[in-house]
């Protein structure tokens, strides 16, 4: 009887600690290494300095408006989760990728994350961004050269003729005053 009471009281005393169990904070450290010529991201999960095993870690790359999942891994006994880093992921112009490691929805630990920049991105395909070339769709400053040439030549040709005709009109007037004789 007394033992049962003691056990119940001990359990009752332990209860709050169980309830507060998710409030354990884990610290994450991210490092990068090339192992067996494979680019690897290593996330170390520690619980107050002690490596935490069997913790699920997710790796993301930060992209426009969202996080691209790069993989999931579980920490081993040394608290390290290893991720194979993709070799063809475009980074920014300095090849940098902002990598985020998260521990989410874990029974023991609070949601935490850590992010690091690593220059393992490939150069983005600059062909996509090739400067806007001269074309029919382009702005007014970028019309195709042949087009500009042809248009200008035609316009000058025709308006030149028209100007010549107008000039002739004024010569007509001059011719009229040169000769006094009026044929009308």
């Amino acid at each position: 009887m007394k033992t049962t009471k003691r056990i119940v009281i001990t359990l009752l005393m332990l209860l709050p600690f169980m309830g507060w169990a998710q409030d354990k904070e884990a610290t994450l450290t991210m490092s990068f290494d090339i192992e067996d010529s494979i680019k690897t991201a290593i996330v170390l999960v520690e619980d107050a300095g002690v490596p935490a095993a069997e913790v699920e870690v997710k790796l993301f790359a930060e992209r426009l408006g969202g996080l691209l999942p790069l993989g999931e891994a579980t920490t081993d006994e040394s608290g390290e989760a290893r991720f194979e880093f993709p070799v063809d992921l475009p980074g920014d112009d300095q090849h940098i990728i902002h990598v985020i490691a998260k521990v989410e929805e874990n029974d023991i630990y609070m949601d935490t994350e850590i992010s690091e920049d690593i220059a393992w991105g490939v150069a983005p395909n600059m062909d996509i961004l090739k400067p806007l070339e001269r074309s029919l769709s382009a702005g007014r400053a970028r019309a195709p050269i042949y087009f500009i040439l042809a248009s200008v030549l035609i316009i000058i040709g025709i308006w030149g003729t028209l100007c010549y005709i107008v000039y002739q009109l004024f010569r007509l007037r001059k011719l009229g005053t040169v000769n006094d004789q009026n044929y009308l």
Partner: protein, 460 residues
């Protein structure tokens, strides 16, 4: 005395008698000399319609366009654009009557060239007006010149229209100079401003051999220039549609199709003009039944050419019935637009191709009635090219308000279109009251040639 100097016309063996020439001048200057009661009524009537149009435009620009006109997102081009196409087509009348015929030695064109030219000039101006009326921001019209993109068909159209307008004005002005010079002496009791105008526009014309040489040479250059320009203007207008991906307009035929239609319209319009001037100004001696005979035959010829292009434009796609074209073709042939479409084809193409084959139909009155129906059908044909073209986009029209699903021009649009017609007629009328509508010296020249060739005088 109109000196037909032998150094210019070495082949001339006789000159005009003074009497014949004076009668001709009297006849042709009479409408300029005196404007009768009906003449004034006509001018005021046209001016009233023009003013109504200006007021309608004022309403359109100051009130919401959503309320005043029927344009919506799918039918964003309406009667203003089809009217614009019509007027550009009509402006080719100058090319047809003056330039082409000048080269073909068909002498009967001579009395018609000036009226054709003024109709052309008036039409091209009203085409410009029609386009500006259709713009959403007419206050930014100058952007076309400040920021214009040479790759845009609209910019091509603006350039060609301006060029053609200037060329047509010059083409009309040059042969007018000898007549203006004559006007100074022939007209009596005219207001001072009018006489001053003649003085200015006569460019010091005295009729010397050097002046004639200069004039003839300049006219020849302009004639050569006008033909490709005129063809370009309507081809570029056709390209406003053909450079888009819309199935109705995605046709390599469009340029030629439009130009051939313009020639048909021009022939019909000149028939109406000849009849009107003949009646109104009593010019039966100069615009004879022979002219109607020739014009009737020309009408048949132009209709057949236009018919050929229509067959290529519509029947060949109909044979294929490609998914891209099926909707609008079926709509026009057997669907909602069918009665409209077939009437236009019948009255606008088939009738003028067949009826004038009968000599009785080439008499002035029957031919003119036919020509009027052809002109009306031609206007509706342009409507049928523009609006059904917009009602069948590639992506289906779904879930939109009722007014977005159909197009029928609003009262304001119809008023403005009517006003463009009235303005065109007004320009032509006022011109014909300031200058003789038949070119005196060109007719005289033609008669002289005929006289010297020993043929009977056409003017009997």
């Amino acid at each position: 005395m109109f000196g037909l100097n032998k150094s210019i016309f070495p082949e001339v063996k006789e000159t005009y008698t003074q009497e014949e020439y004076m009668t001709m001048k009297d006849d042709l200057f009479r409408p300029v000399q005196k404007i009768g009661r009906w003449g004034w009524i006509w001018i005021f009537f046209l001016s009233a319609i023009c003013l109504a149009g200006v007021y309608a435009y004022y309403l359109q620009e100051t009130e919401s366009k959503y309320v005043t006109i029927s344009l919506r997102d799918y039918t964003m081009w309406g009667v203003y654009i089809s009217n614009f196409v019509f007027f550009v087509a009509l402006s080719l009348i100058g090319v047809l009557m003056s330039a082409v015929l000048k080269f073909t030695n068909f002498e009967w064109y001579r009395p018609l060239s000036r009226m054709a030219e003024i109709i052309a000039v008036a039409s091209i101006m009203l085409a410009g007006v029609s386009i500006v009326v259709a713009m959403g921001r007419p206050d930014r019209l100058h952007y076309l010149f400040l920021y214009g993109r040479i790759q845009s068909p609209i910019v091509w159209d603006v350039i060609v229209i301006m060029t053609y307008c200037v060329t047509s004005i010059l083409f009309m002005l040059l042969p007018l100079i000898p007549t203006i010079a004559t006007s100074k002496y022939h007209l009596k009791n005219k207001p001072k401003w009018q006489m001053k105008m003649y003085e200015l526009l006569s460019f010091g014309w005295v009729g010397s051999p050097e002046q004639w040489k200069l004039l003839k040479r300049s006219m020849r250059i302009l004639t050569i220039l006008l033909i490709p320009l005129g063809v370009s203007i309507h081809t570029v207008t056709a390209w406003l549609f053909a450079t888009t991906l819309r199935s109705e307009w995605d046709s390599s035929n469009f340029g030629a199709y439009f130009v051939s239609g313009a020639f048909l319209l021009g022939t019909a319009a000149i028939i109406v003009a000849v009849f009107a001037f003949r009646k109104a100004y009593s010019l039966q001696k100069y615009l004879t039944e022979k002219h109607f005979d020739f014009l009737g035959k020309t009408l048949v010829f132009m209709s057949l050419i236009y018919l050929y292009f229509n067959i290529n434009e519509y029947l060949v796609p109909a044979y294929k019935m490609s998914g891209l074209h099926a909707n609008h073709l079926l709509d026009m042939f057997v669907g909602d637009e069918a009665p409209f479409y077939w009437s236009v084809v019948f009255f606008g193409i088939l009738m003028p191709a067949i009826l004038p084959l009968f000599p009785k139909m080439r008499k002035p009155l029957p031919l003119t009635i036919l020509a009027i129906t052809v002109v009306i059908a031609a206007w509706f044909k342009r409507y049928l090219i523009v609006i059904p073209g917009l009602m069948h986009p590639y992506m289906p029209i779904q879930d939109v308000p009722e007014s977005w699903k159909h197009y029928f021009p609003s009262l304001i649009e119809m008023t403005i279109v009517a006003a463009t017609f009235a303005a065109m007629l007004l320009i032509v009328t006022v011109f014909s009251r300031l200058f003789p509508i038949i070119s005196v010296w060109e007719v005289a020249e033609g008669n002289l040639k005929k006289n010297n060739n020993g043929e009977e005088d056409e003017n009997d």
